[in-house]
Symmetry: C2
Subunit: 311 residues, 2 copies
């Protein structure tokens, strides 16, 4: 076990991310004591059963009492209200952070509530699966992934330093950037891909019943990969699109322009334009593999006999 | 070993699909003798090294000599020319088929060349990976996947029956439908997903250099899944979009309309509309899992420590 980075940490929200932090913090020894709470009684009861926290409280106010680090792990739209509620109960010197996928809106909603003597450093672990809830979490979720910290007026260099150490203890790499830059980068890496996936799955859902069942049958040909992305938590994603509206609309504009160009090339039968694009896109994937964010292992389709035999 | 469905089969084209058929046919005993050819000398030499065929010929004309089944496994744009070249050399009673992802164009291009006494049954094994070439193939590629046969004027019930038996021997399910219906269903399950994946990866490729390297770093947040799809063979996909232009443009129209609606909802901050769509799309995925075309196994990101430990 390592020296703990924080003595006591409080997790507000115990879904996929909150419960993964709990597991990772315990396994790594990054905290001495891990407490937390969730809004729903069912989730709290389940977390008690799972035994991944030292103590599960009924309210956020109780949970933050005496905590050195408070991690708000709720949909971004709710983060400001949580900050307001816990603010008067924060320990002197406590560091507050969050895990939301949008950062400008969170900084704007949370900062006004942070009392003097406490610090706020917005954060975003870029990791996840399409599953939700405390059973979906696991300690290794952050291994070799990136956590982005976006310091603002209420941040201190010490708080940024400790939080960096904490995330590194959980196996994550850490990068610091401005909130607006974060929102632009994530709009294209994450928000637009999700929007497009939701959109095409929605287009299919609107097809005539017969065709729809055929689409499901032949989904291994490409469509299936989109449905995984489009199975992510609806509340979380609604909040992300509302909170990152400007960057999403900006990137969606670029995407749509490019799609129109492609559509025109197909209509006109301009094969060389299509070939040029399809070749160029291969390099991007090569870069991702080289950056260690993917392997070259073929994905034969999960559930395929070979996948279970050879992996 | 089972009773062979065909005595001698000839594969024209030895890429991912052709070489997988060779392996599957040998492993299952679906053919007594497997011969074939590829346009490039390098591919032919590699297939000889791999030892997956009984004989590798220099030309398609030589390969089809005495073959009871000829499987054309080349990009759809080239299929007609191959059919024309081999036609005079086909054995009396031979069955010709293909594996292209578009069927109306293939039927149109191939049928005029099929001599009397031979049969043509267009086919499409709905299976694949993003890899190309003879090394990428494997016998289990078709297991529990679907092969669609689209009989036309030059098909006979016997030819359809034997070909069905052949694909089943390779582990595939078989479905029969009209060529135009195939093209519509595949436009939405396969062609549009690929087009969109190519498009968004292209949008990223056009970003400023700094932002692009960040996109690669944070690609695990959704973008990565698109790059796998967009790494597929460029020639094959150029041909598909040109050959299935009408169905692709029809489905692309629906997709774009839906995307505009979503864009408007984001601009206006209509969270309930977003939430409704994001919830509806979850059911489609559930149906795919129930249909056995996907498992519920979480995809933690290939190359993730947990993936290799637990799979």
């Amino acid at each position: 076990m390592r020296t703990p980075v924080f003595n006591r940490i409080a997790l507000i929200g115990l879904g996929l991310i909150g419960s993964s932090i709990a597991r990772g913090a315990r396994e790594s020894g990054a905290a001495n004591e891990i407490v937390g709470t969730a809004r729903s009684e069912k989730t709290r009861a389940r977390v008690v059963e799972l035994g991944i926290l030292d103590q599960v409280m009924e309210t956020a106010v109780e949970a933050v009492e005496g905590a050195d680090l408070v991690v708000i792990c709720v949909p971004v739209q709710t983060t400001g209200a949580i900050a307001e509620a816990i603010a008067p109960h924060l320990k002197k010197g406590a560091v507050v952070t969050d895990v939301g996928s949008v950062k400008q809106a969170v900084v704007r909603d949370v900062e006004p509530h942070i009392p003097d003597g406490c610090a706020f450093v917005a954060g975003h672990p870029v990791a996840g699966t399409e599953f939700s809830g405390p059973d979906a979490g696991f300690a290794e979720l952050f291994h070799n992934r990136w956590t982005i910290l976006t310091p603002s007026d209420k941040s201190t260099p010490e708080a940024v330093g400790h939080l960096t150490e904490f995330w590194k203890a959980l196996g994550s790499n850490v990068e610091v950037m401005a909130p607006d830059h974060h929102d632009l980068v994530l709009a294209i890496t994450s928000h637009i891909p999700h929007l497009i996936a939701y959109n095409i799955v929605g287009t299919v859902a609107d097809l005539e019943t017969d065709t729809r069942s055929e689409v499901i049958r032949y989904s291994a040909s490409g469509f299936r990969d989109f449905t995984r992305i489009a199975a992510s938590d609806p509340t979380m994603w609604r909040d992300i699109f509302l909170a990152n509206r400007n960057a999403v609309l900006e990137m969606l504009g670029r995407f749509s322009e490019d799609l129109s160009t492609l559509q025109r090339a197909i209509r006109r039968g301009e094969g060389d334009k299509l070939f040029e694009l399809f070749t160029r896109t291969r390099n991007i994937r090569r870069n991702i593999i080289e950056a260690g964010q993917e392997t070259e292992e073929p994905d034969f389709g999960r559930g395929h006999p070979l996948a279970s035999e050879n992996d």
